[in-house]
Amino acid sequence: MAERSGTTPETERRFTPDPTTTRDEDLREAIWELGKEGEWIVQPVPEPYYEARTKYGRTKKIPLEKTWHHKSCGQCGHIPGYSTSIFWLNRRLGLDYFDPRDQTSCTAWNYYASATSNQAAQAAVAMRNFAAAYQSGYYPLIHCGTSFGHYKEVRHELVHDHQLRRRVREVIEKLGRPFVMPEELVHYSEWMYAIRDRLKEHQVYDLSQITATVHPACHYYKLQAGDAVYDPEIYGGQRTAVVTAVVEALGAHVADYSTWYDCCGFGFRHILVQRDFTRSFATLRKIEVMKEEANPDVVLTHDTGCVTSLDKSQFAAQAHRRNVGVPVMSESQFAALALGAHPFRVVQLHWHATEYRGLLAKIGIDAEQAWAEFEDDLERLKAGEMEHLTWEAVL
């Protein structure tokens, strides 16, 4: 086998967490305490759940099913194969889930872009969605890294600020909703981490020849850092384990690169109205470094903004003959491909900007045939033979 690409981490040290010397507090005890005092209803994580380790060695419960999917506006709007792949994996594994219409965006993309909101409004949006999940009998599973990070901030503020809590409670009561705080806030990539061995059991394609680089999403592990999943077997417990643990479980090679801590350049406001910054940062500090140091077949990440920035920014950089040109997708899309999901009906790669056909060929998927099948679907939709592509057609 050819020598594997990627940089070698400069240290062999392992991070041994000590829950008694953490930088931030474990809020969960306070959440239950406030529940006992009648401040809110605590929604427990449904069984069966997986117990994962967080940064400082605490245990976090990850629900396996009965999940209420808090969708991402950027994923559903512009990268629909991202969320479709998450749903498809649930169905492929026979896990019960709920895709609600009684859900708004967390609105945090707008908040971090324009600040045209405030603490109480942001907290009320979160608590309205949590109430909707609770009333459905399903448990929130958050698709977007920014929603996850922002909701953790909101939770921190609601626990510590009783005036804010009272004010938001009044709003939620006016809506006729219960005031509910979930026992844990869970990101979908943590769910992917929890089911990684089950994914492997259902794997169709051998990924041993695939090299991936992983971009960990800032809002997943930098905001309220203590509540992200870490694993001593992954990067010696020094970086978050989600995404990488899944990709390795599926047998692909994860190559390291020196700018892993850098953000993707999304910028919230910048991606929409000042993209010179986004394009420059995404290509010069991320994609080019990955290409030079690891030459990956694919870049994998676990957040809406990161997929968008890293994927869309490459087109303009190619015009400047920069060293770019690598497909970008979420690990949910990558895992779905590995489990035999259709690259267009499910993974919806035609919404992506970067060229992905080389990756599909290397995995062993005939992209031309798959596109012909999808075009046939489109013709049937146009002819009125079916109204929508259905789950029955893609499983």
């Binding site: 905001l223 801590y261 919404w351 592509l389």
Partner: protein, 228 residues
């Protein structure tokens, strides 16, 4: 060196805005002091591309340098990426969070520099506040994203058909990211009204505020909600 910009703005106006920032309940949790170590700057993506420094933001607020604060409020805060890479600060400062607070104050007070920074952004505010989803499939238009390649045009041309070719039942939408229930949207409108978020828009763009208020009032009336 003290800032000599914005000398035409009275000191009391600058002080008033500074006090609003300090009065935010999150302020004390976001600022503890500064070693001047520069770790936040090394981690900051915006610092690599702009004349921008999260360290200077934290220091200015800690020193209560009102003149420099006002300069940063106008010239710096919209450069921040809000990625929060700066929270690796060994003093547990949160420069990104401080900037969020400063931005809120800038919006609430309708600063001209803020209106300029958000000039091209108001259609997004309309979308998120009235539909509950930030970006929609029909925003993928060639003239809005010319740098994203020819795929954008292809998506736009095939949008309705491609959305029907999505298995999840909630995603057959073009004007919203997913199908949001009417009642859910009405609840969101009540949140914007009751928390003062809608009022904030009046300072930024009065016309946008009036349009959104009309849309929301009408929907709330149809839904049988009392807004008082």
């Amino acid at each position: 060196m003290p800032s000599d910009r914005y000398q035409e703005v009275p000191l009391e106006d600058k002080l008033r805005l500074f006090e609003q920032v300090k009065a935010d309940p999150r302020f004390d949790d976001y600022l503890y002091g500064c070693y001047e170590c520069g770790i936040c700057v090394a981690a900051c993506p915006s610092a690599r591309f702009y004349d921008f420094s999260p360290r200077k933001i934290a220091q200015t607020l800690a020193r209560e340098d009102v003149e420099l604060f006002y300069e940063q409020l106008n010239d710096d805060i919209w450069n921040c990426s809000q990625c929060f890479s700066c929270v690796r600060c060994p003093r547990k400062n949160n420069p990104g969070g401080l900037i969020t607070i400063m931005r809120e104050v800038a919006v609430k007070n309708g600063l001209r520099s803020t209106k300029q920074a958000l000039a091209g952004y108001t259609r997004i505010i309309y979308k998120i506040m009235t539909t509950g989803t930030q970006v929609s499939p029909d925003m993928l238009q060639e003239d809005a994203f010319p740098d994203w390649g020819p795929g954008v045009k292809e998506v736009a041309q095939n949008l309705a058909l491609w959305r029907r070719a999505l298995p999840p039942e909630t995603l057959h939408t073009t004007g919203l990211s997913w199908d949001v229930e009417e009642r859910t949207k009405q609840e969101l409108y009540l949140i914007w009204k009751m928390t003062g978020a809608l009022d904030m828009i009046a300072q930024l763009d009065e016309g946008l505020h009036d349009i959104m208020e009309e849309v929301m009032e009408e929907a709330l009336e149809e839904g049988g909600w009392s807004t008082h």
